[in-house]
Every structure is written in structure tokens, then in C-alpha cells.
């Protein structure tokens, strides 16, 4: 249609003429002009509804009462108050969080009010624990403990087995998540001779049936329960102590020394020696209190204990 128009009417020109090339001066399409005017109307409406004009050290916040947001806020001392304010992004955010919490509140309230054992026994509630727990775990725990909670040698323990560094009861797991942990072992390279550390390594490997030299392991045992003072943390039976997070050395679960991924007696001995000599100074689990809400920590505790596998 526009082509027809062009063919039947002679457009006006601006009068500019460059080497015989003339510039048309067609009017803008009417719909476009109207669109332009509508943006002005939109702007004025916007001024009336939203924070807009700066005036001195303040700014207009829309016509009072015309466009408001009501939300429920929690004060620093835990009281809930309802407030109404002019429209702004942060009030809108509060309102959205209220709506979101309303969806989950009944479940989280139930988790908060119920004992660990009763949450675990409530099949319907556990459905919520499992889905919310999976999300919380992926966001916060998986970077160290990995996606399925299988842990990472040299970084973070496996959460799916029955061995628990700091204890696997509900209360112990809860304390671990809420307050964090700091697993440390002092280095022994300055207090023990190299061949003593070798003997200890053979003994430690013998405890879990790994390849070792029995003669060296026997000397290592006397060191372990004597001058090496290993027993003070790992216990005379080398079974560890969850109160201080010392490892059970008699099982086949390894966190710091990569025994599983190492083949050959020599390499395994070297791996254990590395830990005895250098110690462990990086077994840090961060504190989640403050970053997560108390009910989220409680839910995660049940998720880790029941779904991944707690102390049984």
C-alpha cells in the first residue's frame, strides 16, 4: 500500500540538493507520532505512582497513599510488624519474600517445632525435607561435600557412609552445621625422626589391613601409644574421638591421605607419612549460623542424617 502511495503522490522535498540528489520531507507516520505522545503520558503517570523527582536532598515518592505496598517485617528482636509504605523496589522485595515464605511457612514451622526423631518419622514432612534439603545442600554444601554428599579426599568428608568425624547423631550434626568445625592435627616433622614417621605410617596402614611391613608396624605401635603421643587424640585403640574430630584409623575410610587412589605399599606409606609429617591445618567447616536460618539448619540436619546417611 505504501508503494502505491509513493507512486501516486509526489513527496515534498527539503529543498536540499546535493549533486542532483534531493532529500524528501515525508511526515512521520501517525501511529508513530501517537506512540511518542503516549510515552509523555506514561511518564506523568509514572511520576505519580513511583519514586521519581529529586528535590534537594530528598525525592518525590509518588502521591501519598495512591500506590502502596504492605508487607510483614521481622524486627531485630524477633517481633513481626506489618507496614505499609510507598512503592519502592525494596518494599516490593519484602512483599515477595512474604509470599514466598507463606508457601513454605507451614512446613518450616512444623520442622522448627518438631523434634528430629518426629520429623524423621513423619513421611509427609520428610517429602518437604528432601526437596528443600536437596536445594539447600546444592547451594551451600555441595561445593565441598560434592553433589551427592560423597565428599572429597583432601577436602571434606563423605556424608553418605556411617563414619562421622564429629559424630553422627542429630545433635552432633546440628552443631557441626550451625557452629562449623575446625579439624586440626599438629605436624610431627619437627618432633619425630623420619624413620619414626615411617614406622608410624606402617602401623597406621596395618590398622586397616593395607599393605605394610609388620616389623616396622610393630615399632610404630609402641610409638603410637608412647612417645609419638598419637593416642592422646586418636585413642589407644586408634578408633578416634568424635568429641575432638580425630579420625578412626582402623577403618578403610580416608579423608586426608589418598590411600584409595594410591597403589603400592611404598606410595601408600609415603601418603600417610605426608600427613603425619605435615599435619592437617585445613579441615575447616564454615559456620552456617547467620547465613542460614535456624529452621533451615535444622532441616539440613535431618536431610544429612536421614537422607544421606547418619550415624547408625
Amino acid at each position: 500500500m505504501s508503494q502505491d502511495k509513493a507512486a501516486t503522490t509526489t513527496p515534498k522535498t527539503t529543498g536540499h540538493n546535493w549533486d542532483g540528489i534531493e532529500e524528501y520531507t515525508n511526515p512521520l507516520p501517525t501511529w508513530w507520532i501517537w506512540g511518542f505522545y503516549i510515552t509523555f503520558i506514561f511518564t506523568v503517570v509514572y511520576w505519580l505512582l513511583y519514586p521519581a523527582w529529586p528535590i534537594g536532598d530528598k525525592f518525590t515518592k509518588g502521591i501519598p497513599g495512591l500506590h502502596t505496598i504492605t508487607y510483614t517485617a521481622k524486627t531485630a528482636d524477633g517481633k513481626e510488624v506489618e507496614k505499609t509504605t510507598h512503592w519502592n523496589m525494596r518494599a516490593k522485595f519484602m512483599h515477595e519474600m512474604n509470599e514466598h515464605q507463606a508457601d513454605q511457612k507451614q512446613w518450616f514451622d512444623k520442622v522448627a517445632a518438631t523434634s528430629f526423631e518426629d520429623v524423621s518419622a513423619d513421611a509427609e514432612l520428610m517429602q518437604f525435607v528432601n526437596s528443600a534439603g536437596k536445594t539447600l545442600f546444592s547451594d551451600n554444601c555441595a561445593p565441598c561435600h560434592q553433589a551427592g554428599g560423597q565428599g572429597k579426599i583432601g577436602m571434606a568428608p563423605n556424608l553418605t557412609d556411617d563414619h562421622w568425624q564429629f559424630g553422627g547423631t542429630y545433635d552432633e550434626i546440628h552443631e557441626t552445621i550451625a557452629e562449623g568445625r575446625n579439624g586440626v592435627m599438629p605436624p610431627f616433622q619437627d618432633t619425630l625422626e623420619d624413620d619414626q614417621i615411617t614406622q608410624l605410617a606402617h602401623y597406621v596402614l596395618s590398622l586397616s589391613g593395607e599393605p605394610h611391613n609388620p616389623a616396622l608396624a610393630a615399632t610404630g605401635k609402641t610409638l603410637f601409644t608412647g612417645a609419638g603421643i598419637c593416642f592422646t587424640c586418636h585413642g589407644p585403640d586408634a578408633k578416634g574421638n568424635t568429641a575432638m574430630g580425630s579420625a578412626n584409623l582402623t577403618d578403610k575410610i580416608w579423608l586426608w591421605a589418598d590411600i584409595v587412589g594410591t597403589t603400592g605399599q611404598e606410595a601408600k606409606v609415603a601418603e600417610v607419612k605426608r600427613i603425619i609429617a605435615g599435619g592437617v591445618n585445613r579441615g575447616v567447616m564454615p559456620t552456617w549460623e547467620g547465613r542460614l536460618k535456624p529452621e533451615q539448619i535444622k532441616l539440613l540436619t535431618v536431610y544429612v542424617h536421614d537422607t544421606l546417611g547418619g550415624g547408625r
Partner: protein, 244 residues
Amino acid sequence: MKHDKIERNLGILLVFTMLAISAGGMVEIIPLFFIKETVEKVEGVRPYTPLEQRGRDIYTREGCYLCHSQMIRPFRDEALRYGHYSLAAESKYDHPFQWGSKRTGPDLARVGGKYSNDWHTQHLIAPRSLVPQSVMPNYPWLATTELKYDDIQDRLKSLRRVGVPYSNSQAEYQRNVEEFGEDVAKTLHIPDAQKNLEAQAQSGNYDTDPSNITEMDALVAYLQVLGTMVDFKKYDDDYFVKFR
């Protein structure tokens, strides 16, 4: 003035184009300098310590901002994943700010304290050893490159020029003691910058290797302070609404 005249005169066209463009920018930006509520009144925000500041320099040098933002917007999904939305006050000492505009990796505005130092060190050396699906490049040289900090005083002096309250005189130090308390004020004193940097690197054990101060120490120290300065527990959870 006739359109004709503007279009035929390049100089005038240039001046008018610039005026038109800057008017829009100025109208949006300048009022923020005067509106008192732009920067929220909140306790705890302080300039970075010398070690954190060097870490921040490395953060910008390596271009972390190209994939990581430091700006949690007041949206539900962002709050659920990253934590409390970012405040203007939290980046008031940032030059340049690291808000970013692109998230290939996650937002880092509140990464401080979320992971252990050891995690950050290993993750920066080889991200996929911890997060298999990550597309972040490896930064192994951070752990082996000794941190250059003989110029730390000059760096802090430059920041002081653009308004960051590092102290270079006893009077300025006293002012910082009043504003931030003695412990923080000590770390902001330019003449002690070298000493403070070394002390923090030694006590913080950021790259889990206490034998030397590497770029890893500085970068992890910086990452561990991100978003941790304001204690949100002290405030009503809608306290920051009234500033908007």
C-alpha cells in the same frame, strides 16, 4: 537556530550532541550525590586492609568481574541463593566498584565466610576438582607467585586521594579511631601498611601455606571479607526499605 545551520556545521553539531547526551546522564546521576538516602546509614563498612586491597587489585587484574558480579539485587531468587541484597553503603569505599553486569559464574557479593580458605585455594588452582560442572579457568600461578607489596603505601595513597579514609597522619589516624575503632584504624594507617599486610597474611593463613605471602593469600583474604562487614542481625529486616 535553524536545523540547517547545525547540520552544516560539524563543530556546533558535536557540541549539541554532547550536550544532549550528557543531559540525560547528569539528570540521572547528579541528584544521587545530594540525596541523603542514597548511601544507607549502616555500621561496620570499612576500607579494605592492605592485604585485602592487594587481593582486590588481583581480582581486577585477572578480570574476575567479567564473569562474577558483586551485586545482589532485591529479588526473591537472588536473596534465596546469595543472601541479603547488596547495599550502596557496602561498596562506598570501592574504587572501582565491582558490581559487574554479567554472571557466567555466581555472584560473589556475599561469598565471604561461605567456604574455607583451603576450598578457595584449591578452587582457584583447579575449579573442576571441586565443582565438576564449572567452566571457570584455572589460576594456578596465584599460589606460586609471591605477592608484590613494596608499593602498597602508594596504592593506599592513591585511594586516599579519591576519598577512601586511609590515614597518613596522626590526626587522620585519630579520626579513624573515632569512626572505625582502634583495631580497624590501625589497619588503615598508611605508614604501617607493609607491616599490617605481613601480619594479616601470617595470622590468616589464607593459602594454607604459611611459608610465604603469595597472590593467593591476598585474593583469598579479599574473597573472605566480601559481604561480611555489615551484621544484618542487628537490623530489622526491613530497615533498608526506608532509604528507597
